[in-house]
């Protein structure tokens, strides 16, 4: 029996911590989200508007807005209305912060990064 190359790659790429795999597939499923999560990991008490976060990340405001909304929906980020101005910050939930820490630390490993990139691109198709 021959293994299809796509199946083989998928099997190889799935070989990572199940929690982190789920984190990538369901939460950090775009490169902008990855950038944002890294930024908030490095600057964990940042709390600001979409426009300013976009500036910090060096990205387009419209692109960052939709990604931040999805990060809020998935529980990675929190949003608060300050006099009608939506202000974003990293979720205060300790389990989520731990997951963010684990993800960024795992990204220091090249093999992990390759796998994460694979899953993100696959999810974008």
């Amino acid at each position: 029996m021959t293994i299809q190359s796509d199946d083989f790659t998928a099997k190889l790429m799935d070989d990572m911590d199940a929690r982190l795999l789920d984190f990538i597939k369901t939460k950090v499923n775009s490169f902008i989200k990855w950038d944002l999560v890294r930024f908030f990991y490095e600057n964990p008490n940042t709390t600001d508007s979409v426009e300013n976060i976009a500036k910090y990340a060096g990205r387009n405001t419209a692109a960052v807005q939709s990604e931040l909304k999805e990060l809020v929906e998935s529980g990675v980020m929190e949003v608060q209305l300050v006099n009608d101005l939506p202000v974003y910050s990293l979720a205060s939930d300790q389990e989520m912060r731990q997951l963010v820490d684990e993800f960024i630390l795992a990204c220091e490993d090249r093999h992990f990064r390759v796998k994460a990139v694979y899953h993100i691109i696959r999810g974008m198709r």
Partner: protein, 254 residues
């Protein structure tokens, strides 16, 4: 004797006759590289380590990771202090901070309550200038902001960038310097073809203070305030002259 909030920077506390007054706003102004942020980080760090007073750092420009790195070069472990709940470095913008302080139960108010924060660094006040082009409105915004910090029981240090590298900056009628409680100037001065750093306490509302201009250095342990400049005048102009020269200029050449 009045209670003081010590900076823990020996020479500076002497100049301030013991330190800042509690729940006051204290402006630290200087050109880029003069050490404003270093002095203020030292105020926050010493507050936590020497006086058990937790602190907040609100940054409008530098990323918190830059503070972690800069502090580490002086041997101050800001990350550890954050983990211990004694420090929080918050990156945000003037507009969000202003709105946050105006509402009940805002982030800063919550942190002050949760951490028992007593000191705060605002880096830098220069960014408030983008909130309004009207100097009168800007002064009102600054006044309200400073009062909100005092309401929270915080003793604040606020940095402000000076546009000129050498010499004095203009102070206009609407300047924030008029609404703060103390005003410290940090300047570069050129003496005999070498750049030195000079510090002056220009104002300390409600207290006497040293009027002399002191030299200071940024060492591996932070800011060290040294002796006053001897035999020089016009220090804050950036290009001091020897007193004898100015005496000759003023009297003999007439």
């Amino acid at each position: 004797m009045q209670q003081r909030v010590k900076t823990g920077i020996k020479g500076l506390d002497e100049m301030l006759h013991g330190g800042f007054l509690p729940q006051t706003a204290n402006l630290i102004e200087g050109a880029t590289g003069t050490g404003k942020t270093t002095l203020c980080m030292q105020f926050i760090y010493n507050g936590i380590i020497l006086y058990n007073e937790p602190g907040l750092i609100i940054t409008f420009e530098e990323f918190p990771q830059q503070y972690y790195r800069d502090a580490a070069t002086f041997g101050w472990d800001f990350k550890k202090l954050e983990q211990e709940g004694k420090l929080k470095i918050i990156m945000t913008s003037p507009e969000v901070t202003k709105l946050d302080l105006e509402r009940v139960g805002g982030k800063i108010e919550t942190l002050v309550t949760e951490m028992g924060a007593r000191r705060i660094l605002i880096d830098s006040l220069s960014h408030f200038e983008r909130l309004s082009s009207d100097p009168v409105e800007l002064r009102t915004i600054g006044y309200s902001f400073i009062n909100a910090l005092k309401r929270e029981g915080l003793t604040s240090v606020l940095t402000r960038e000076s546009p000129t590298l050498l010499g004095g900056a203009e102070i206009d009628d609407e300047n924030i310097a008029f609404i703060v409680d103390s005003y410290i100037l940090m300047r570069y001065v050129e003496i005999e073809s070498a750049i030195h750093r000079a510090l002056l306490v220009l104002k300390l509302r409600g207290s006497d203070h040293a009027k002399d201009i002191r030299q200071y250095e940024i060492t591996s342990q932070g800011i060290k305030v040294q002796a006053k400049f001897e035999g020089q005048e016009g220090i804050m102009s950036g290009s001091p002259r020897r007193m004898a020269e100015s005496f000759v200029e003023a009297f003999v050449k007439r």
